[in-house]
C-alpha cells in the first residue's frame, strides 16, 4: 500500500467541505428562491453609494488599524528579538496569553471600560467614549496587535546577528544599520503581519456592533446584516453572497500584492 492512500480521506473531506462550499457563494448570488436571476447580483454590485462606500471606508479603517499595529508592534518585536532568548520567549508569551481569552469577551470588557469606567474615573459619568471612530480603532488595534507582533518577532529573531555586527564594523551607524540591514531582512515578517491584520480588520462586524453602539457600519456588518436581518424570499442569500464575492476578490488582490512584496515565501508555506 502506498503512503499516498493516507491522504485520500482528507482529499474527500477537502473537496466536500472546502472546495464545494466556496462554489455556493457563486450559486446563491444568482439564485433566488430556486430561480436563476441576475437582478439582485447586479443591483448589489452596482450599489456604489452604499456597498462600495462602506467597503472603501472599511478598507481605510483596516489600513489605519494595520498601520498603527505595525508602528506599535515593530519596536516591541525588535526589543524582544534583542533580548536573551529565554527572557524574550517568556515576555513574548505574555503578549500572546490574552489571545486565549475569547476576543468577544475582551471586546465586551472594552465596552464597559470606555462607556462607564473611564468617564467615572475622570468625574464625568455622563460622557461616553463609545460609538466613535477613535474607540473602534482602539479596540481593533487591541484585538489585532498580537497578530502583528508574532510574525515580526519570528522574523526578527531569526536575523543573523553577525550581519548587524558586520554592518557596524564596516562603519555604518546604528540608524543606517537598521534601515539598510534589519528592515529589509524583516520584510517577510512585515508582510505576513499585514496580511494577518488587514484581512480580518475589513471583515470584522463584532467590534462596530459592540463598540460602535450600532451606529458604525463596516463591510462585515453589511454582510452580517444581509444574512441575519434582511427579509427576502426563502433562501435569499443573493445580496450577502454578492457582497462576499466582492470581499473574496479584495482579499485575493491584497494577498497577491503581499506575495509580490514577499518573494522569499516558499510555496505551501505556513501562515503561522
Amino acid at each position: 500500500m502506498k503512503r499516498k492512500v493516507f491522504a485520500y480521506p482528507y482529499i474527500v473531506w477537502m473537496i466536500l467541505f472546502i472546495v464545494v462550499p466556496m462554489f455556493f457563494i457563486f450559486y446563491y448570488a444568482v439564485n433566488v428562491g430556486g430561480q436563476f436571476t441576475l437582478t439582485k447580483f447586479w443591483s448589489t454590485l452596482t450599489d456604489v453609494k452604499n456597498n462600495w462606500l462602506v467597503l472603501w471606508n472599511s478598507i481605510v479603517i483596516a489600513l489605519k488599524t494595520t498601520a498603527i499595529c505595525l508602528i506599535i508592534a515593530y519596536p516591541i518585536a525588535y526589543i524582544l528579538s534583542n533580548m536573551k532568548k529565554s527572557v524574550a520567549g517568556f515576555i513574548s508569551l505574555l503578549f500572546f496569553v490574552p489571545m486565549w481569552m475569547n476576543f468577544i469577551l475582551r471586546t465586551y470588557s472594552w465596552y464597559a471600560i470606555l462607556e462607564y469606567f473611564i468617564p467615572g474615573l475622570i468625574g464625568k459619568p455622563e460622557v461616553s467614549f463609545t460609538g466613535t471612530e477613535f474607540s473602534v480603532l482602539l479596540v481593533l488595534v487591541y484585538d489585532f496587535l498580537p497578530f502583528m507582533i508574532l510574525p515580526l518577532y519570528n522574523t526578527l529573531s531569526k536575523i543573523d546577528k553577525s550581519l548587524i555586527e558586520a554592518s557596524r564594523d564596516l562603519g555604518a551607524n546604528p540608524v543606517k544599520t537598521f534601515f539598510r540591514v534589519v528592515l529589509p531582512l524583516s520584510v517577510p515578517g512585515i508582510v505576513s503581519g499585514i496580511t494577518m491584520v488587514f484581512v480580518p480588520a475589513i471583515t470584522t462586524f463584532t467590534v462596530p456592533f459592540i463598540i460602535g453602539n450600532g451606529v458604525f457600519t463596516l463591510y462585515g456588518s453589511k454582510i452580517d446584516e444581509a444574512f441575519h436581518q434582511a427579509t427576502g424570499v426563502v433562501g435569499d442569500y443573493a445580496v450577502g453572497s454578492t457582497l462576499s464575492i466582492i470581499l473574496v476578490i479584495c482579499v485575493l488582490i491584497s494577498t497577491l500584492i503581499m506575495n509580490y512584496f514577499d518573494k522569499d515565501k516558499e510555496s505551501g508555506g505556513q501562515v503561522l
Binding site: K49, N50, N51, L53, V54, N57, E115, Y116, P125, E126, S128, T130, G131, E133, V136, P208, G212, N213, G214, V215, F216, T217, L218, S221, K222, E225, F227, H228, Q229, A230, T231, G232, V234, G235
Partner: protein
C-alpha cells in the same frame, strides 16, 4: 507538551465548575409559582427548541416546566423580528415555538409556515382578554395560529433631568440640543415608523416616496445619535448616559422602575401598538410539548409572575386580576383608550417590504461613513 497539560487542566477545571454549579439555584426567591387552577402536567419528555427575544421570560418558568414535564428546553434568543424570520425560513429550522410580532405572523400565515393551534390542548387560553383577541384578530383572523404573549406600545423614554421641555412629539428626537444623547431603535419597521409618524404618514404606507422621505430624515438624524440599539437602550437610559430614546413600553417600565428620573410618553402623532404572539412553526417536532408550554405560560398565576419579571404588559386577564393595582393604573403598562386610539398595528407589506429594506440598508450604510 507544556501547553497541552495546562490546557487539559484548565478544561478539567471548567468542567468541574459546571458540574458543581449547575445544580445550584437561587434560593432567596419567595415568589409564588403555583398553578392557578391546580393544573397537572403529564410527563412528555423530548426536547423543545424555543426562539424568543432576549430577557423575555422569567427563567424560573423554564425550570418549572422542565421539572413538570421532563422536557429539555433549548432556549435561543434573537434581537429583531427580521432575524427571527430569517431563522424560521431557513430550510433546516429547528424551532418548536417562537414569539414573533404581528406583521411577521401575518406573513408567516400567508406563506403557510405555521401550525394551527389545537385549542383543546390549551385550556388556559380562556384567560386571555377578549379585547386583546379582538385586536390580534386583525393579523391572525380567528386567532387560529397564534395567542398573544405580551403587548405594548412604542414611545419616547426621556430623562427629566436632561430634558426640561415637554416631550410630546417625535420631533424632539431631531432636536440638535440633544446631539449625542439620542437612541434610535435598531429595527427596520420601528425606526422607519418613527420617521413616518413624524412626517404625518401611515406606518403601513405603501408609498415609496413617503418611505424615502422618512429615510432621508433618518439619515439627517444620524449625527445626533448616541447609538442604534435594542435591549441595551434601557440600561444606557437607566444609567443617565442618554437623554432620549425610542423604546418599547416594557423596556421603559423596567428603566423607570430603576431610575426615577425617567419618563415615558407615546407622542401625539401616534405610534405603533404591537403584539408578540406565541406560534408553532411547521418545523416543530414536539407538538405535544409545544402546546403544553403555551398552556403553561398562560396559567393566570405564572403569567402574572412573568409580566412582573419582564415588565411587559400581559394580555392575560387572569394575570391582570392578580397584579397589584399600580400596574392597572400605569399609563405605560396599561395605556388608556385615548392613547390606543392614536396607535396602529404593523401589517405585512408583501413585496413592498423591499422598499423598506433598501431604505434601511442605505440608512445603515451612512452610519460612521
Amino acid at each position: 507538551m507544556k501547553k497541552l497539560v495546562s490546557l487539559v487542566l484548565a478544561l478539567a477545571m471548567a468542567l468541574l465548575c459546571t458540574a458543581a454549579f449547575t445544580g445550584c439555584k437561587g434560593s432567596e426567591e419567595e415568589a409564588d409559582y403555583s398553578f392557578a387552577d391546580g393544573d397537572q402536567y403529564e410527563y412528555i419528555g423530548g426536547e423543545l427548541n424555543i426562539l424568543n427575544w432576549g430577557e423575555y421570560i422569567d427563567e424560573e418558568l423554564i425550570t418549572i416546566f422542565e421539572e413538570e414535564t421532563g422536557v429539555k428546553i433549548n432556549y435561543a434568543k434573537m434581537t429583531s423580528n427580521e432575524e427571527m424570520l430569517m431563522k424560521l425560513r431557513s430550510p433546516d429550522c429547528i424551532y418548536d415555538l417562537c414569539f414573533p410580532s404581528d406583521y411577521i405572523i401575518e406573513q408567516l400565515i400567508a406563506q403557510d409556515m405555521l401550525v394551527e393551534l389545537d385549542m383543546s390542548k390549551i385550556p388556559n387560553a380562556k384567560n386571555i382578554s377578549e379585547k386583546m383577541l379582538g385586536i390580534t384578530d386583525s393579523f391572525d383572523p380567528g386567532n387560529k395560529y397564534s395567542l398573544p404573549y405580551m403587548w405594548g406600545t412604542v414611545g419616547i423614554l426621556y430623562n427629566t433631568k436632561m430634558v426640561d421641555e415637554e416631550v410630546d412629539s417625535w420631533d424632539i428626537l431631531w432636536n440638535e440640543k440633544y446631539a449625542g444623547k439620542i437612541w434610535q431603535y435598531d429595527s427596520v419597521r420601528d425606526a422607519i415608523a418613527v420617521s413616518l409618524l413624524r412626517l404625518g404618514y401611515d406606518i403601513n404606507t405603501r408609498n415609496a416616496d413617503e418611505v424615502n422621505k422618512a429615510k432621508e430624515e433618518l439619515i439627517k438624524q444620524i449625527p445626533l445619535l448616541k447609538g442604534c440599539g435594542t435591549d441595551n437602550i434601557k440600561t444606557s437610559m437607566q444609567k443617565n448616559k442618554a437623554a432620549l430614546a425610542v423604546v418599547y413600553s416594557g423596556d421603559a417600565l423596567e428603566a423607570m422602575d430603576k431610575n426615577p428620573n425617567l419618563a415615558y410618553v407615546v407622542p401625539k402623532e401616534g405610534s405603533n401598538v404591537w403584539f408578540d404572539n406565541v406560534v408553532i412553526p411547521k418545523s416543530a417536532k414536539n407538538l405535544e410539548a409545544a402546546h403544553a408550554f403555551i398552556n403553561f405560560i398562560n396559567d393566570a398565576n405564572l403569567a402574572a409572575r412573568n409580566t412582573e419579571y419582564i415588565y411587559y404588559s400581559t394580555p392575560n386577564q387572569g394575570a391582570l386580576d392578580r397584579l397589584d393595582e399600580a400596574y392597572i393604573g400605569d399609563e405605560a403598562y396599561n395605556p388608556s383608550e385615548e392613547t390606543l386610539s392614536r396607535c396602529s398595528v404593523f401589517h405585512d407589506l408583501g413585496d413592498f417590504v423591499d422598499v423598506f429594506n433598501s431604505a434601511w440598508s442605505e440608512y445603515k450604510s451612512k452610519m460612521g461613513n
